[in-house]
Symmetry: C2
Subunit: 314 residues, 2 copies
């Protein structure tokens, strides 16, 4: 455990959580460990706070990808986190680190993307910071709100719940990782008819993000591969990657779809389609001792081995 590559992304987050364990505010309903922090500021209203970094060469490629799309992505990855809590975004702080030699044309187009995505969600940029640096990177902190009884955490999944996902999964690297639409409208529609027991956005890969729900909810999960909504991009990518499309759907990062659990009692209230976006049941929540397993279908219980569990920084 000498270097960050040994500690890993989740190791680092766990260590930070341990260190800061002592300071708590009674207003904080949820701190580190969910898509957003949730703070009780007004009666019946919760403020959501989230922040994401994008680094050149890691999360985007400044020399290959369109700066306007990178700018939109910086906003939308955060909007997706607000959506995953059931909320609506309101205020943003933008931080930009840029080499002195960066072309203004690039920065201008990047900022156009940021502003476009902000406008789409009626988010007001209220502050931030700029610095010179050796590599381009940006971070955005986003504040939003949600009524207290509609705020959905990762830790509420119960044994017997069904597991759902919006949209089609896998192969986002072919384009969707930049051009995705965060599921704000869809979440509003869903929450108008029922309340999920747990929710997360699929940013690290379906299995890994499902693992966040099961770990925090202290449950297990059975996923049925025949039920997974596989995207065309997952099929296209599989021709080059020597992986099956289903593997891409289960493990590729940055789909930015919503993964949620709900009681089977509300099944009739869950739409199959919101606009053009499918909402698909992909499995069920089981006892914690069973862990997470992938089976072909409920009637074919041979476990499917999946090699890679999603993205990990460092």
């Amino acid at each position: 455990m000498n270097r960050m590559k040994d500690v890993g992304e989740f190791g680092l987050i766990e260590r930070i959580q341990k260190k800061i364990g002592v300071i708590r505010h009674s207003t904080v309903l949820k701190g580190i460990g969910d898509d957003c922090a949730a703070v009780s500021l007004k009666k019946n209203e919760v403020q959501l706070m989230t922040s994401d970094i994008l680094v050149d060469g890691v999360d985007f490629l400044s020399k290959k990808q369109k700066p306007i799309e990178i700018g939109k992505k910086l906003v939308n990855v955060n909007v997706s986190d607000i959506a995953a809590m059931g909320g609506v975004p309101q205020y943003a702080l933008l931080n930009l680190s840029l080499p002195s030699a960066t072309q203004w044309k690039w920065v201008n187009s990047f900022l156009d993307g940021v502003v476009k995505a902000l406008k789409e969600q009626s988010i007001m940029l209220v502050g931030g910071d700029v610095s010179s640096s050796k590599e381009i990177s940006g971070s955005l902190s986003l504040m939003g709100n949600v009524s207290k009884n509609k705020c959905i955490y990762r830790n509420g999944a119960k044994k017997g719940d069904l597991i759902f996902v919006t949209g089609l999964l896998g192969g986002s690297i072919l384009g969707k990782h930049l051009t995705f639409s965060p599921r704000i409208k869809e979440v509003k529609k869903l929450l108008s008819s029922f309340t999920p027991t747990a929710m997360i956005d699929v940013s690290d890969g379906l299995l890994q993000d499902l693992g966040h729900i099961t770990k925090q909810s202290r449950v297990g999960a059975a996923i049925f591969s025949d039920w997974i909504p596989v995207s065309k991009d997952a099929v296209t990518l599989s021709k080059k990657s020597r992986k099956k499309p289903i593997e891409h759907a289960l493990t590729d990062g940055e789909d930015f779809e919503l993964l949620f659990t709900a009681s089977p009692k509300v099944l009739s209230k869950i739409p199959n389609l919101i606009g053009k976006i499918p909402v698909t049941c992909i499995g069920e929540v089981v006892d914690v001792k069973k862990g997470i397993n992938v089976f072909p279908s409920p009637v074919d219980t041979r476990k499917i081995k999946i090699s890679k569990k999603g993205y990990n920084h460092f």
Copy 2:
């Protein structure tokens, strides 16, 4: 205007402000352009939001400076912005970009510094993000609060007001830029007896930060160099720099003292000392047409030329 070094730090901020001009929320009392954004969330209470980036090689030197002090600085530069609005910090989001080869020992000590500074101010870390990168950089977003009638902006200075500064100025590069104490206690004491008309923290250099107040308040300022509280470090630095100590006091960045204006009517209510921290009158607010000028004293009105106006990224 092809590259960021031509656009400059303040050019970039102005261009961002122009681009985002369209989206406004009625709850936002102050957006971009002050030490913090100010949002009206509850009756009589304002939420403050601020964010600062620190980049290795620009804002700190990971190979020379102690990581624990760099961690403290990342928190305290933001706390200083909350203090400059009259507020108290509450919640933080931490973003860290680290090369995979970074020693855990360094990161561990850096995080200890972050946590120490958070504890000192009872700030709860509620979230953030981590990413791999080529250079070490960190950013922190900090939320705080202040009652509506005690929230101090940069734009309230009036002709005839007196100008004050806390502490001693200049030469912070010799150590204070890392080890400073943000003026939270001091601001609380000040606000208990009177209300400044405008306030800012001295991060870019006294003259440059005073320029932010005069520009936004549409006033000018006369500063008296004999009255400036010059630090010992400014004197020490002047022996090597070929500049006068007063030049360091007027233009060095990262003093993180408070610069504020107040009506002469409340002069008797302004303490000369808060604990061990001096509060010094350094000049007065004048008509906007006069600009900012430095004179030896009120009775010696030969203008003093100052070469450099403070720090500018890019």
